[in-house]
Structure formats: C-alpha cells, structure tokens
Symmetry: C2
Subunit: 434 residues, 2 copies
C-alpha cells in the first residue's frame, strides 16, 4: 500500500485506497417489503415493470370528433372537408361500438377509447356541426389529439430500476401502477459513540477543562440524511473496559458504529487498541486533511469507523467514508448530496502531494460568475469557520495546491437561493450564496 508519513502515524493510507478497501468490506443489506406510505426516501430493491401498456388503449386527448386523418387532408377555413357524422358518442369508460370509415366522424370526449378505424381527433373548435355531417376547418395528421396505446410505457418495460431512490416522482409512478407494497433496501442501523473523559453533555454544567460533546447529534443527522436509522449511544469514559463494553454492545446491534474522539495515536487514545481486541482494524490514519486520524475496521458483523473528536474533521470524515458506506449498504449509487458549482479561486490554496484536502470556502458572485475564497482557519476545531463557509473544495493528491484565479468545483452546503418557480419570493433574509 502506498503511503506518506503522517504526524504520529507511521504511515497514512491514501483516501482512494481506503475507499476501495471499504467497498470490499461493505455488504448490501438484505431488502425488506414496506407499504407505499413508508417508502419515501427509501431505496428500491426490485425492478418495477409495467404490467400493461399505458395508456392501455388509444384514447382521445381532446373533446371533439374521431376521424381518419386522411379524411381531413387539405381541410382549411376557406376549404372545409365534409364528413358524415355517425350516431352515438365515445365516452370515457364506455367506448363507441362500430368501425369508422373514410369520410366519417363520431363524437368523442377526452379519455374515451378511440373508435376502431379512427386515428386522430379533430378538436371541437375546428368543426361546425351541420345536421348529419360536420364541416372540418383544419386538417389533422394521424395521431393528432390522441394518446396512443403504450406511448407512455409498454407492458414489461422496467419503469423503476433497483437502486433508485424513491422520491415524489417514483412514489407517484408506484401508486399509479397500483403497488401498495414495494421491496426496498433495509435502512442501515448506526450507533454513535463519543469517547473522552473531557466530554460533557450539552445542558450539563461544564467543569474545569471540560468541553461539550459536539459531534454526536450532527452525525446522527448526517446518517439519517443518508437513509440510515441512527442513534446516539452517548459519552463513554476513556477506559479500556468501558470502551470495550460499549463497542461490543453497539457492534452487536448495529450495522455501522461510529466512534468519535480518542482515535489518534496519543497515550490516551485507546480506541485502536480496544478495537484490535474485538475485531480487525483495516485502516488507521488516512492521507486527508482534516481527518488524518480517521480509520475503520470490522467488529463482528459491524463496520466500525474511528472518527476524530474535532467536529470539522468528523464531518469531513463522514462525507469521505461513512456516507459512501451507507449508500453502498442500501445499493444506491454513491452520490454527494451537496450541489456542485464552478467558481474562480480568489486566494491560493496550499496543499501537500499525496494528501486529499477538504478546504472550506466562502462563495460570492463576481463579474464572471461565482468566486470562492478559502476560509481562514486555525485548526479543525474551529467551528465558526464551518458556519462562515458556503461549501468546500476538494484538492486531490496529485497537486501541491490550487493557484489563485484557477477554476475549482465547490460543493455547496446549502442549495442556491431562489424558488423552484424561478420567481424570487420577497422573504429571503439569509441567502446563502449571492
């Protein structure tokens, strides 16, 4: 395995290699069946095929008169065509019995089965009814104002493929197919453990030298956003016994365990040691910044991630490693939920060869489009820099940095402002970008 030296680590694994190793160790969870009302946000675990053509028969898409298109050819306001009006009417639910011939027409309403022999509909507005015949003022081509059988989809066609995230459009399709139950990927179960004697729960009194546990709730939220069922175990004290017990219990119940803090190589960093007792560390120390002390391995059937205690490093560690894992477990494509925009870099980013950097940036609108400016940070513990950032830039291993003026891809934490209708609604107190 290629590696570079890291502070405290004998060697660091390249992020890409860590991900490959992770992929080989991730198993897709066996799927389950849920009711349509529970299917939103889940990942489809079957190919959903059409059981019939849609529309099931060719039907009128307008109120008017069914005709053979050829009977109308040449018709115009100044030179109408005259067609014999057949008795009766084709309505939705009850068609018209008979076969329409050349030079004939029959009344149809929207949604009615197209009468046999007809291949188009002339709209009401382009016809004058004159007793037993109609005057057609406009020619129609075959198929005009008709929804043809199977034009939406054909019987047997795969409409939704396994792996597809079920959102509004997919739910509408499943419902329209009459599917009350559907096979979906099981949500990975995640337990989140925080370690460190210096940690206090928010709301508690903060003793001398203590800090609040800041990553647990955030990680639970991120896991849920990636489709998992996540739960915070809470703070576990920095002892071998307590850690081993907590890790063993979590690994027995969950598919994924996230352990924050105490994963570096200092004297009090017990996690790697305890971990080695329960399972196997696959990677510890990754060539990324922030997030170098990140690692993962197996304990029983669970995948366990060691994440740094610093919130910023933890969040990037989640995005780099844990989100892909949760997506792979659900059999959905690995996707970054943060929208990408191109921006011109306003200040140089320095990096190191062989390391992947996640650089927080502010985004503004300049003359030529978006501009990105790295946020000044003094360390990965500095949270306010995270709030001031609009997104992040990934600097790959094969470069020592990005020069001012170069174009970079920024992943935005929040979507670009603006309503979906393209109309600016006045109430917009905190546009994230622009």
């Amino acid at each position: 395995m290629r590696s570079i030296r890291g502070r405290g680590f004998r060697e660091l694994t390249l992020l890409g290699e860590a991900l490959e190793l992770l992929e080989r160790n991730v198993k897709r969870l066996p799927p389950q069946e849920v009711h349509l009302s529970q299917a939103g946000g889940r990942v489809l675990a079957e190919d959903v095929r059409a059981e019939r053509d849609s529309p099931p028969f060719s039907r009128a898409a307008m109120d008017g008169f069914a005709v053979r298109a050829s009977s109308t050819f040449g018709a115009s306001q100044s030179s109408p065509r005259y067609l014999r009006l057949r008795e009766g009417e084709a309505r939705a639910g009850s068609g018209w019995q008979g076969v329409l011939g050349e030079g004939e027409a029959v009344r149809v309403s929207t949604g009615a089965p197209l009468p046999e022999g007809a291949d188009a509909v002339v709209m009401l507005e382009h016809v004058n009814v004159l007793g037993g015949e109609i005057e057609v003022l406009r020619a129609v081509p075959p198929g005009k104002n008709v929804a043809l059988q199977g034009e939406d989809y054909r019987k047997g066609e795969v409409l939704l493929s396994a792996g597809r995230l079920l959102e509004a459009r997919e739910l509408a399709v499943l419902a329209s197919l009459g599917r009350a139950r559907v096979r979906v990927s099981t949500r990975p179960g995640v337990k989140v453990i925080a370690t460190g004697d210096e940690l206090a729960e928010p709301g508690e009194e903060l003793g001398e030298g203590m800090v609040y546990e800041a990553t647990g709730h955030a990680l639970v939220h991120l896991c849920r956003s990636a489709g998992a069922e996540a739960e915070r175990v809470g703070i576990v004290e920095d002892s071998r016994e307590a850690l081993e017990e907590a890790l063993r219990a979590a690994a027995a119940q969950a598919d994924v365990v996230l352990v924050t803090g105490a994963s570096s190589v200092g004297e009090h960093d017990l996690v790697p040691e305890v971990f080695a007792e329960l399972g196997r560390v696959l990677v510890h120390g990754i060539a990324m910044r922030p997030g170098e002390p990140t690692g993962f391995g197996r304990a029983g059937r669970a995948l366990v991630f060691m994440l740094p205690g610093y919130p910023v490093a933890t969040l990037f560690g989640f995005e780099a490693l844990v989100r892909p894992t949760l997506q792979l477990m659900q059999g959905t494509p690995v996707n970054c939920p943060y929208p990408a925009v191109k921006a011109v870099l306003r200040r140089k980013i320095a990096s190191e060869l062989g390391r992947r950097d996640f650089v927080r940036v502010r985004v503004s609108v300049g003359e030529g489009g978006f501009e990105a400016e790295p946020v000044r940070v003094s360390g990965s513990g500095v949270l306010s820099s995270m709030l001031r950032a609009d997104g992040f830039v990934v600097v790959p291993e094969n470069t020592e940095g990005v020069e001012k003026g170069e174009c970079v891809e920024v992943r935005l934490f929040a979507p670009l402002s603006g309503s979906c209708s393209g109309i600016k609604v006045k109430y917009a107190p905190a546009d994230n970008v622009g």
Copy 2:
C-alpha cells in the same frame, strides 16, 4: 390583476402575482422549543449568540515552548537564538503561573493557556534543549502556533441566525455551546385529500374506468422534505357533502390542506364551489404549464391548495406554490432544493407569452458541458416522461420559448453523481447525469 385567457378559465393569474398574494396570506407559525436530539432538519427560531469568547483564553496550538516572538527574530539553523528556560510547564487545564519576559521560554503542551507575556509558540521540532536554556532554530512571528482568545468567535456574536436550517454543522455548533434545548419553527401540519369517484387506492382491485390515486403519497413525501408534518386523508368521493365534510375537518386540524383533482372547471369539479362555502378562494387558474387549474384560498385558519389530479401537474404545482408556503410558515428562506446546472438546449422549447412553463429535460454531457433535451410528452398525465427526465427548465412569461443552442438553467431532480470525497466509488449502477 393582469391575466391571460385560459382553457375553461375566464382569466388566469400570473404565477408571480399568485405568489405575492400567497405571501400576504401566509403567517409564520409560533415557534416551539425542542431538545437538540430533535432539532435536525428544523428551522432555528432564535438568534444564537456566543456566551463567551472562543477560545476563552489564548492557548497553545502545538506542543513546544511559549516565547515572546521578538526574542526569536533572526533565529535560524545556522544562527540560533538562545533563551532562558523557565521552570515548570503550561498544560491543558492547568496553566503556568508567572510572567514570561524577553529572552525567556517555558514548556507548553497543546491546549494549554498561553503564559502571560508570551505571544507565540516555537514547535518542539525547532528547538534543542540545553540544560537551563533552549536553542531556537527558527524565528516565529507573534501569534504563531497560538489560538488567540476570541479568534473563533467573540462573546455576544450571533453564530446562528433565526431562519437558519439546522443541519450537521449547526447541530455541532449548538452542542459545542452546550445548548441542550433550542427554539425552532413549528412544523406546518398538512393534510392531503384526493378527490374523484374514479380513484382507487393502490393495492385495491381496479374497476372499469378507474385509476389509482397517484399523487397523495408523493405529496406527503414532498411536504416532509420541506419540513412539514404531512398526512394523507385518503380518497374523498365526488359529492358536495363528502367534500365539504372532509375539507372542513382537515382545515380545522391542519395549517395547510392540499386537495388534488376535481379543481378544474368541468361540471364535476365541485371543489371550487365547496371551497367558496367554507372560506374564500383567492386564486383559481394560474398561467403556468403544467398546472393551470391550480388555485388556493383560505378555509378557517388553514390555507387550502387546489392541485390538478394529474401527477406531473400536481408535482410542479407543489414546487411552485406549496413549497414556498411551507418555507414561509417556518421562516426559512425560500429555496429550491434541486441543484441548478447550466446546459445548452438541444431542441427548441416553444412556450406562450404570459405563461410560465416547467419543461422536463434530459441532461447529458456534450463537448462543451451539459446539454439539455426536452422530454417528449403527450400530456401532463404521462408519468414515464417524468421518470425519463433528469430535471426541469423554467421558461418565464416574457418569452415565447427558448431557441436551440441557447443556455438554460436546469434544476436537477437528483444530485450530480460522484462521491463527496471527489473519488469515484466503483459501484454506481445508475448515474443520473453524465
């Protein structure tokens, strides 16, 4: 009110005007307090200020020796500076008692309060300890290797403003401030009613002329994605009495009621009529496509939206009107969750002056970047076209369409593929774009 003629409607309201009217009728819901564990995905309803400086005192960011930077000026490998080593050490939790003078140094470990008199830290690696003095091999500027008091944020500074969506970063900040409880906007309550005698529930036998109710589950999912608590009432029969009862009950319990189907102007379209009994229709018929028969009004304290029965039209009606409403009720900026990309149009889009069109497009990667091609549709009931589309283009009122080759903004239904780490994970069976 300006208007254009619409099929069946005497006049249509411009979408922008409908939104203005809506804004004047939307009240922000009174906020509530929740525990941090429940705060993810909620909208902050207070300004969260820092209660102290962060860091609360200047501290060492590295293991090394605290110094006055000026004592090191000129130091180099070939010309070291020699400083008197004071007794003791500054550690995290227990500082060093004393005042450091010019030409002096004292041992510090990471996180320790910076001793009085010192303004920088020389890293361990750049020092040789020689009994009672140290040899400094590199000069440091003031502030080097020090996290200065208040450099992250100052006491009283607003860290999170009201209206901000609470996601991972925000939860981490709240936790690190020790906030166990936080004021958030109340989730709007939404009831979803489907009307139509031709509707059957998915899973039921489909009688002659019946279709499955396809929009309810999708709307519930969309409402939840916009922060609301949504529930499907189910299918209500097409009678004045049944509709009135359902609407009255829903309006008494919910902040927003969505009624799909039966909102056009045909003879069986009772909703507008029933509505007028219970409250006031503010807009009915909007110059947009799809979604023309959309409308809204008040019934008691609830806002009621009439949405078309066709799934595609309903979904765009939701995005254009309902999502902004739910966002305004929560006091969050009106934002479209679908990421925007620029694309070159591969086929002309025809539109109509005075109407806003939502055009489904496929996106592919061409030579010069993204390309967008309108999806062929025969009507707004055609669901498969929605599945084949990668996103949509909004064509504003002041144009008759967009020419082939022009650049358009596409809103993507799914995020661009690719992991957040910038590294492609091999498992990606259904990249949405590219």
